[in-house]
């Protein structure tokens, strides 16, 4: 295989804009949820009526982590900033002027992130990084008011295509998180030894529910601990391949659902599982959406319609439509329109 060609195909081969459009909607909603959580203790963490006053937030952030909220930090101004970021997030969800809203959303999330370095954790970190990538991506090309305006101007309802390099960065970032997290866990004794969840259960400040009774079943604890580690390793690789994708995505959803009663880190698992959508091919996304459409649960026609629309997907006509199936050619050639690959 010519490596230059593979590079170009991976980063620049056009793909359907729909998975990214779907992710944009969910991510925007998660940002709104993040702002709602922030607003509960806004004064304590983000204003000078709380923990840090004057230049303390700037000193705590250390040089190079800039935020206008290091200077503007009275409660009223910070509320205004949060309100503006919320309005931007709504426009981002709707896909109105998505490019501009993407930039504003990133700046808003980054400003809040750098104002509160002392208690930021995984969900904040991930949200800032994802909003950076979303700013770079053409995430308003599908399922947005922008896309509707463009198609009305053009007079057709053609399927939008995008150059996916920013989407690829999001995919790689997700895999890197799982890989780094799993690899770091192997440095200790408790994950490989199967006792890590026992200790998490007894950290009551971090935990969500009291699950102390579970510690009476060390075999179950061991199975849960070691399978969590295994799934994290698997998620870093198996999302890339079509034959394993839906199964590992389902396992990943179960992993994060299992973390919910154990650990109180809202919006982390939600963001991680939403990122799986970026690996889906258009027909897989259509099948997933069909699964959640109650009209299709009772209708045979629904499935036929779904198969038909997947065949009509012009994204299939281009080299990059499949996410990374360099070795697995499982797609039915009859489902494609356009030149054979």
């Amino acid at each position: 295989m010519n490596p230059l060609r593979a590079w170009n195909r991976f980063w620049f081969g056009p793909i359907s804009a729909r998975p990214l459009g779907m992710f944009r909607i969910i991510f925007g909603i998660l940002v709104l949820a993040h702002l709602a959580f922030i607003s509960v203790e806004l004064d304590y963490w983000y204003t000078d009526a709380g923990l840090l006053q004057g230049d303390q937030a700037r000193l705590a952030a250390s040089p190079l982590r800039y935020s206008p909220l290091h200077w503007v930090q009275d409660p009223v101004s910070v509320r205004c900033v949060v309100g503006v970021v919320a309005a931007v997030a709504v426009a981002f969800v709707l896909g109105w002027r998505t490019r501009i809203m993407g930039v504003l959303l990133y700046l808003g999330v980054l400003s809040l992130y750098h104002r509160n370095i002392s208690s930021n954790c995984g969900p904040d970190q991930l949200m800032t990084i994802v909003s950076f990538y979303m700013m770079l991506s053409p995430c308003g090309a599908a399922l947005s008011l922008d896309a509707r305006r463009v198609s009305q101007r053009r007079g057709t309802m053609a399927e939008p295509m995008i150059v996916p390099w920013a989407q690829r960065l999001l995919q790689i970032q997700l895999c890197l998180i799982y890989l780094a997290s799993a690899a770091f866990k192997c440095h200790g004794n408790t994950w490989l030894g199967g006792t890590a969840i026992h200790f998490i259960i007894f950290n009551h400040e971090v935990g969500q529910s009291n699950l102390e009774w579970l510690a009476g079943y060390p075999v179950v604890i061991s199975a849960l601990t070691q399978s969590a580690l295994l799934v994290e390793f698997a998620l870093a690789f198996l999302l890339w391949f079509r034959p394993t994708r839906k199964w590992i995505a389902l396992t990943g959803v179960l992993l994060h659902a299992g973390i919910v009663p154990l650990v109180n880190v809202p919006l982390f698992g939600e963001q991680m599982t939403a990122l799986y959508l970026l690996f889906f091919a258009p027909d897989e996304l259509a099948a997933l959406l069909g699964f959640f459409d109650p009209r299709r649960w009772f209708s045979r026609r629904g499935n036929e319609l779904q198969a038909f629309t997947a065949r009509l997907d012009p994204a299939c006509a281009f080299d990059g439509w499949r996410q990374l199936e360099l070795a697995f050619d499982t797609a039915d050639p009859a489902n494609r329109i356009g030149p054979a690959q």
């Binding site: 590079w7 980063w11 620049f12 959580f37 922030i38 509960v40 203790e41 963490w45 923990l51 840090l52 006053q53 004057g54 230049d55 303390q56 000193l59 705590a60 250390s62 190079l64 982590r65 509160n116 002392s118 208690s119 930021n120 970190q125 990084i129 950076f132 390099w165 960065l169 790689i172 970032q173 890197l176 998180i177 780094a180 997290s181 690899a183 770091f184 866990k185 200790g188 004794n189 408790t190 994950w191 890590a196 026992h198 200790f199 998490i200 259960i201 007894f202 950290n203 009551h204 400040e205 971090v206 969500q208 529910s209 102390e212 009774w213 579970l214 510690a215 009476g216 060390p218 109180n264």
Partner: protein, 180 residues
């Protein structure tokens, strides 16, 4: 027009290589290579908020429950205790948005956050609202730490004594010292 597309792809490819190298360097375990390369990428990763560490519950999860407290002794020798928000006993819907408190406590236990310990102690005094004549005051910031039972044992001992982990001792001579 083809040359423009090629130039754009070359520029994006250069950015991709740089960005991915920076991200990977940030994520590798501490090593001489990381120590050597991190300064080169810091001016890019920090301002953009791309710095990251995914050591969640790694290498081993912290099984001990840590709660932050502060003790103040004023000029008259009176002892005042300030308890930071504790979320362990809250119902789940109240816990959800308050997930930052345990993270903050854990962060303060890292030496890197020494400056913030001092800021936190000033916050404690602001919250206590002691009058000017109560100064000078002597403040200790500490964590109460409860150890988990050994693996296989299902319940922790509610009567077990907590261990104190001292985070810092500060003296403030006058009221105006607690406001920056």
């Amino acid at each position: 027009m083809a040359w423009r597309r090629t130039a754009a792809r070359l520029a994006i490819s250069a950015f991709l290589v740089f960005h991915l190298t920076a991200t990977v360097v940030w994520n590798i375990p501490n090593s001489p290579l990381k120590q050597c390369l991190i300064p080169a990428f810091r001016p890019y990763m920090l301002p953009l908020g791309l710095w990251q560490s995914w050591w969640m519950f790694a290498p081993d999860p912290m099984g001990e429950t840590a709660v932050l407290e502060s003790e103040v002794i004023d000029a008259k020798g009176m002892r005042h205790v300030y308890e930071f928000p504790r979320i362990a006993d809250l119902p789940w819907w109240k816990k959800l948005p308050r997930f930052r408190h345990p993270k903050f406590t854990c962060n303060l236990m890292i030496d890197e956050y020494a400056t913030q310990r001092e800021f936190t102690s000033r916050y404690v005094l602001r919250q206590m609202g002691l009058p000017p004549e109560a100064y000078p005051v002597h403040l200790s910031l500490y964590c109460q730490i409860k150890a988990p039972p050994p693996p296989g044992q299902p319940y922790s001992d509610p009567l077990a004594r907590a261990r104190l982990h001292n985070l810092g001792i500060y003296d403030f001579v006058a009221l105006d010292e607690i406001r920056p």
